[in-house]
């Protein structure tokens, strides 16, 4: 079993799936000879040629729209890349009004099996427009799947799962984890089901619910407070739409306390929804306030280093919130 980082797992899975299925094609800015600005598609143009790895005009609206048009034919399964999640918004109307609605409005007569990959997240000196977490906008939209795997194992398993779906999937990759997070990736085929969260740590005192880079920090925080005698479930949501209510509610019913942690700004976020589900469906089991920990409610990560550092979550901040909640 090979040890890979996230970007390697992604690239190898893309390669394997393109080898397996000639319908899989890739399109996006700089995905061709350049191999993507994060090297996610490195070597694929050379291997599969310009008909299957398409360098597009600089225009996200039409990168998504042409992907939709290709998916509609059934001839291809497009995987389109948005270079930075921050630049997905020109395509927002196409994703929301077209991709997400096609099946519903035609009663399944037309479907849009497209995967839209987008690197998101901060901590990379990207400033306001190369650091955003944009998942809340998409998690609100019926008709979309929204996933955010952040281990090499999950990236392979969830990309393969996404390719088996007949509906649009937003595939968010935390760019800071691309080279930071390493792990074992089996050679053989497997899927990580979309819609299922993962339990990364188990404990009894409280539940931490997270995803993305913040999930990795949460695991570290759980390790820190474990030494102090506080034991916690740490849930990696992985899929943000649909949420895995079962895993969430079972854990909260066990621990009675919940800390929701994510990098996106808090107002009307995935964390709000998780809190709302718990407040409605696990109310009787709660022994403490439904607590959220996020960066401040500002547009995105400022560029200047001291500000970026202050913005980003880290294990210490999360551990502090865990201690406080455990003591409640």
């Amino acid at each position: 079993m090979a040890i890979m980082n996230n970007i390697e797992a992604l690239r190898e899975t893309l390669r394997q799936e393109m080898e397996r299925d000639p319908r899989v094609i890739i399109a996006g800015e700089d995905v061709g000879p350049r191999g993507g600005v994060f090297r996610a598609t490195q070597g694929l143009y050379q291997q599969f040629g310009e008909k299957r790895v398409i360098d597009t005009p600089l225009a996200e609206l039409s990168i998504v729209a042409t992907g939709i048009g290709m998916a509609l034919t059934g001839y291809f399964k497009p995987i389109v890349e948005i270079q930075f999640a921050d630049f997905i918004f020109p395509a927002f109307n196409q994703i929301l009004s077209e991709a997400a609605r096609m099946r519903y409005r035609t009663r399944g007569d037309w479907t849009v099996p497209i995967i839209i990959r987008a690197p998101y997240g901060g901590g990379v000196s990207g400033g306001l427009y190369h650091s955003q977490s944009v998942e809340a906008f998409f998690a609100h939209i019926p008709g979309l799947y929204v996933v955010a795997p952040t281990t090499p194992y999950d990236i392979k398993g969830m990309l393969r799962a996404a390719l088996q779906l007949d509906d649009p999937v937003l595939f968010f990759e935390h760019k800071k984890t691309y080279r930071l997070i390493k792990g074992e990736v089996p050679e053989e085929d497997y899927v990580v089901p979309i819609g299922k969260a993962a339990m990364r740590r188990e404990g009894d005192d409280l539940t931490v619910i997270s995803y993305g880079l913040a999930m990795h920090d949460s695991v570290k925080a759980a390790d820190i407070v474990a030494a102090e005698g506080i034991s916690a479930d740490v849930i990696d949501l992985r899929t943000l739409r649909p949420l895995d209510k079962e895993t969430i509610l079972n854990s909260v019913k066990k621990t009675g306390k919940v800390l929701i942690v994510h990098e996106d700004n808090p107002t009307v976020s995935v964390g709000s929804e998780v809190a709302a589900i718990i407040g409605q469906e696990a109310f009787e089991y709660l022994d403490g306030p439904i607590t959220r920990l996020t960066p401040p409610d500002v547009p995105a990560v400022p560029f200047s280093h001291p500000l970026q550092d202050a913005f980003m979550l880290n294990p210490e901040k999360i551990a502090a919130a865990m201690r406080e909640l455990a003591a409640y």
Partner: protein, 347 residues
């Protein structure tokens, strides 16, 4: 230079593709136009009687639509229509009942089983793409479909329609740019009826012809009298040939006029004169074509009446079918959000 241009024009005119149309074909064009018109007029009646909450009309747009359809292979070529394309989709194989079922939001509406507003046509088997309401989104989607056909190595052609006002949207620009870059088998038909609801074309763009926009994408651009069905046929025939032969995309501008208000919710007297509307009514594409057919002796008063009777009978039957058809069950509201999940093993 001038000579060459004139000559080529002459040659084209002598050998016009429409010259090769048989009398039966011409009659079929006429019948489809009349049928579209009657379905449309009946929809207005049903709306005014309070039986249909909304109607948006293609009256006056029938010539380009029927002509274009005749140059395509239904179920093989791909069509992304827009909401005025009633006559177009009828010519491609949809039926008057299909329209009325949608008009009334009935379960049997093949476009969306009453989920969408009327005239938002769709039919996967006929390769008629699903219309949504935000304008122009279909243009880059259609470019994607044309790209798929090309990459797949087929000789399918993709046609997409929209109004001239909708060419102001970024979607139009981006879609046509792809058509140019990839030399796609793609035809964009702009049905220029000179208004976007109330906004006249001078407030929409500073070019005389929408077709001039083709230059910006390195594709062919053609202007045609959108009320002259044979001229439309000629232009579309060439565009389809070009697409089919791998010679690239065409932007066809069909100049026409929306004889009715924008929709059943509109009152066009607030923004344009009755004289202007009356002037255009004289250029009604059906009247114009009728005159030509009379001139060529292809129809006479009797046949004309026969066709009208046929169309009305079709419309009556379709309306009756739609009126009697059931509404969707309310359980439908929460269906068809996602396809079935594969039966994954837990990891």
């Amino acid at each position: 230079m001038a000579t060459a241009a004139t000559k080529s024009k002459k040659t084209r005119q002598q050998g016009r593709p429409s010259d090769r149309l048989t009398d039966e074909q011409l009659l079929r064009f006429y019948k489809t136009m009349v049928l579209g018109r009657k379905v449309d007029e009946r929809s207005w009646v049903m709306n005014r009687q309070g039986r249909a909450p909304f109607h948006i009309s293609g009256i006056g747009h029938e010539a380009i639509q029927v002509a274009a359809a005749a140059t395509l292979r239904p179920g093989y070529d791909w069509l992304y229509p827009y909401y005025r394309d009633l006559a177009f989709v009828l010519a491609m194989g949809m039926t008057p009942a299909d329209h009325f079922l949608g008009l009334l939001g009935k379960a049997g509406d093949p476009s969306s089983s009453g989920i969408q507003m009327p005239s938002h046509y769709s039919n996967a088997k006929l390769r008629i793409g699903s219309i949504s309401s935000p304008v122009a989104t279909q243009v880059p989607i259609a470019a994607g479909t044309a790209l798929a056909s090309k990459l797949k190595g087929t000789d399918e052609v993709t046609v997409v329609c929209l109004g001239e006002g909708s060419t102001s949207q970024g979607d139009f620009h981006e879609g046509l740019n792809w058509a140019g870059v990839h030399k796609l088998p793609f035809i964009c038909i702009v049905q220029n009826n000179q208004y976007a609801i109330s906004v006249p074309i001078e407030k929409e763009m500073a070019v005389k012809n929408v077709a001039d926009r083709a230059i910006a994408y390195g594709i062919a651009g053609v202007v045609v009298d959108g009320n002259d069905v044979l001229a439309c046929y000629d232009v579309m025939y060439e565009a389809v040939q070009r697409a089919r032969n791998g010679e690239g995309a065409t932007l066809v501008e069909a100049k026409t006029y929306r004889i009715t208000p924008h929709s059943s919710d509109d009152d066009d007297r607030t923004y344009r004169s009755r004289e202007e509307v009356e002037k255009w009514k004289k250029r009604d594409p059906i009247l114009m074509f009728e005159k030509a057919l009379f001139g060529r002796g292809i129809i006479n008063d009797e046949l004309k009446q026969e066709i009208e009777n046929w169309a009305v009978a079709e419309v009556d039957a379709a309306e009756e079918e739609a009126v009697g058809a059931p509404y969707p069950d309310v359980s439908e509201m929460t269906r068809h959000l996602y396809g079935p999940m594969p039966n994954w093993e837990e990891d």
